[in-house]
Amino acid sequence: MADFLLELFSEEIPARMQAQAAADLRRLVTGALSDQGLSYMGAASFATPRRLALHIAGLPERQEDRREVKRGPRVGAPEAAVQGFLKSAGLNSIDEAQIEVEPKKGEFYVAIIERPGRGTAELLSEILPGLLKNFPWPKSMRWGSASAAPEALRWIRPLHSILATFGPETEETQIVPFSLDGVTAGNVTYGHRFMAPGAITVRRFDDYVRSLESARVVLDPERRRNIILFDAQSLAYAQGLELIVDTGLLEEVAGLVEWPVVLVGEFDAEFLAIPSEVIQATIRANQKCFVLRDPNTGSLANKFILTANIVASDGGEAIAAGNGRVVRARLSDAKFFYDTDLQVKLEDRLAKLENIVFHEKLGSQGERVRRLIELAGAIAPQIGADVEAAKRAAKLAKADLTSEMVGEFPELQGLMGKYYALAQGEPEAVATAIGDHYKPQGPNDRIPTEPVAMAVALADKFDTLVGFFAIDEKPTGSKDPYALRRAALGIIRLILENELRLPILGLTEGALNGYLADENNADVRAVAKPDLPDAVLNFFADRLKVYLREKGARHDLIDAVFGLGEQDDLLLIVRRVDMLGAFLDTEDGSNLLAGYRRAANILKAEEKKAGAEEAKSYQEAFAPERFVMEEERDLAAALLAAATAAIHAIVDENFATAMQALSNLRAPVDSFFEKVTVNSEDRTLRLNRLRLLNGLRTAVHQVADFSKIAG
């Protein structure tokens, strides 16, 4: 058994690409080896800012010898066929072939081809150049004098050296010989850029990792992350503070250093007057540093954690001081922006929104705000929100887009508006609504729960969704450039989690009218199709199914409820699905389902046999006077009672009662099928019985389309 070690040593690889690149390297090389019939015991890949490394353990030194049997033409076949066979089997003459006799078929030529297994190292040196030349970097570049040629190697940044060794676990290894656009594979790598830049000769993975560690390189990104996290938490603790863990930042920072050294920096406490989200965004985005909080008060501390890449000769004092200066400069920018913003009232910013394009075909943010005011005002009374507060919040919701702070940190939109609204004395509900109206931004984001905030958040999303549907910019496949799926999911969560009763169709029309009322908006008028509300509703149905499926609801039950058609009240749909699931779990439910199926199957079979005209006549009402058997009459009576009760219950939105009413059908249905022959010789009797079964089907369908239920 042998080990393979590969390292690609380059200039700094972007942090965000490292994990994927390491995974791709492992997948591609192991895949290519498997294609060659080479199995292995384990494979692991690693990335640092300057290297991608792959270790494959337990590889055979050679492929197995292979013996291939190739069947040729019949003995005595035409010369052309024989020649073709010789060529494909690599034989010189037909004498080298054997003859096999197959019973009843005759004699055939057969070639036995021996393929001796090739050395793994030799195969690797053949495989690697092509594989690396086509490496799937999200972006790649050319460099140096080689880049004069169009076919020059592309890599994420200039590639400086390749290490590739192969050999048994205990003995000397060999270099896997190959070269890539002038870079020749060897057994040498280099240590940390500043602390140990010298060359290191490597035999295999074990000494590679050890040598790198002593040359101040931690190869494994997970270990770097753990070091940073542990040291950051310890340093914070020593200061009496608590680290605000940010896993995305941790991952990025671990991709920016080969030898993490965690230090504490400080900024002036006066900056704590800036909203904490602004401080965090500033320090995170510009400096890639972690912020700390006081565990007692929960508020931000005027200290931060930075991760350097070297053990500095002064113990890091200059580095911490330098970072502190940059943070101060950034925070004084932020403070300047914040103070400047506070001097302008939100309503005085509205004029500028006229010049900010929302979408080329959907007009400006100013026009959008006017639509949002109307729409939020229309939604508010339906969900118990104060209408004037909702309109006020909608009016000011987008004003912060023209603020300096949001210009600098777009991710703070909404939130800054909230701060500025509070500062100018807006009511709490209005400020909260401004702050929350973009929410939820994703499946895990918080849902607004204040009625005014809900009204504006719903208006914002309906306006977006309907606008883009109107100009035919619907999501297709994996493409959803305007995040309409997210908007729909946001609406679904807002409605369901707050238990709101809102008709999707009504809101869609409301939003569309907002666009149509705007005289300037020729685009929407020109493009919007009459089927738009249905298209939006179907989109919601799809998103709701995805949402419910992820919550574990049965796929078929969702279909059964949607099968009823004309459902645009999401909360009722979900309640029906829940009730239906509960009902089917009862014995009455499962028996009724069985009875329903029997009825539906008979009807389906008969409808198939009959002409369209006749099949249609099954849907007419049955005639009670034509029943001859008691079971028929019982079922008919039970059906009338159950259907009436079910309809009333459904009108009252009491689905449990509706299903209970249907469950009363179970006994008469069972006796009916036990005693009554539907396909009577008497045509009149038969037709009437089919109509009775159709009555059963119709009654059941009031609750859900049972034909969609699986199992």
């Binding site: 040629a149 940044r157 890449n309 000769s313 580095i319 970072n323 200066r325 400069a329 394009v357």
Partner: protein
């Protein structure tokens, strides 16, 4: 407060010392890059938004001929003016620009050497290459590279040009851009750009960056935001655009182009006028894109024609 982050090393006279004077920083970089084989050029004598606009970078990056140059370029960003009141923002500042074609194998090491030459010790400071791909929509250019950090501060931009004026670079040039004020603030340990020591003098002999530029920042901020005549600027933009196209047409002789440099000047001019109009706030978001496209078309035409000249390898 520990701001004297840069330890003194040798003791050059203050007037030449990168840690004690702004001009010393420039001189140290010039000396370093001259030793690395660059032609030390002077600033281009037109208003540009960045050192990249200098024909010594943008045009010389195209075509097969090797090229090495370094120069200081005053850069104008009308929108960044703050009336001399912001400690970090200026509408006129200096870039130190280095262009090496083809990009040498040891470009990163050369760059780190240049930091050492201005007194930044890599064993004391945390120097990092952080992903920052560069793209200039107006120049139809992009490249991959980094922003270079020293103790968390961006001190340079490092780019391997991949495409310029819409044309693939073959071979690729490496470009380094140092933001001189920011770098000087760091090595001098100063928090406000106007407090930089410009000439290395002390007491009455001291000339600060503020002495040189504060009044200019105030006056140009007024000009850029309030006074520049918008109608004239629109007209100048149209004129420069037309002149650029006309010069290229007049300079075309068969396979050769004889007037690409004068034509490119007009492209630079159009770009700066656009920046002024933008600062005046008279260009809407939708128009903005179309102005950028118009400048890009000029840049692309100049790049294409450059390849038909001697220096362009045509």
């Amino acid at each position: 407060m520990n701001t004297a982050a840069i330890a003194p090393q040798n003791s050059a006279p203050a007037v030449f010392d990168p840690r004690r004077s702004f001009q010393g920083l420039i001189l140290a970089l010039q000396k370093f890059w001259a030793e690395a084989g660059c032609a030390l050029l002077q600033p281009y004598d037109m208003e540009v938004g960045a050192g990249t606009f200098h024909p010594a970078t943008i045009l010389r990056a195209l075509g097969p001929r090797p090229w090495r140059a370094a120069y200081v370029q005053p850069s104008r960003r009308p929108k960044d003016g703050r009336y001399g009141e912001n400690p970090n923002r200026l509408q006129h500042y200096y870039q130190f620009q280095v262009i090496l074609k083809p990009s040498p194998e040891n470009l990163q090491d050369l760059y780190l050497g240049s930091l050492a030459a201005i007194g930044i010790d890599a064993h004391l400071h945390d120097i990092r290459f952080v992903e920052d791909d560069w793209e200039s929509p107006t120049l139809g250019a992009w490249g991959l590279g980094w922003e270079c950090w020293c103790d968390g501060m961006e001190v340079s931009q490092f780019t391997y040009f991949q495409q310029v004026a819409g044309i693939e670079c073959a071979p690729v040039a490496g470009e380094l851009t140092y933001g001189l004020e920011r770098l000087a603030m760091y090595v001098q340990g100063v928090e406000n750009v106007f407090d930089l020591n410009f000439n290395g003098g002390e007491g009455a002999e001291r000339i600060s960056y503020g002495d040189v530029f504060r009044q200019a920042e105030q006056e140009y901020s007024r000009h850029n935001f309030e006074a520049a005549n918008v109608e004239t600027l629109f007209q100048h933009f149209r004129d420069a655009e037309a002149e650029c196209q006309s010069l290229l047409a007049k300079g075309a002789q068969g396979e050769r182009q004889l007037m690409v440099l004068p034509a490119y000047d007009q492209c630079i001019k159009a770009s700066h006028i656009f920046n002024l109009l933008d600062a005046r706030g008279v260009i809407s978001v939708t128009e903005r894109q179309s102005y950028i496209l118009r400048v890009r078309e000029l840049a692309k035409a100049c790049g294409r024609e450059w390849l038909k000249t001697e220096a362009g390898g045509g």
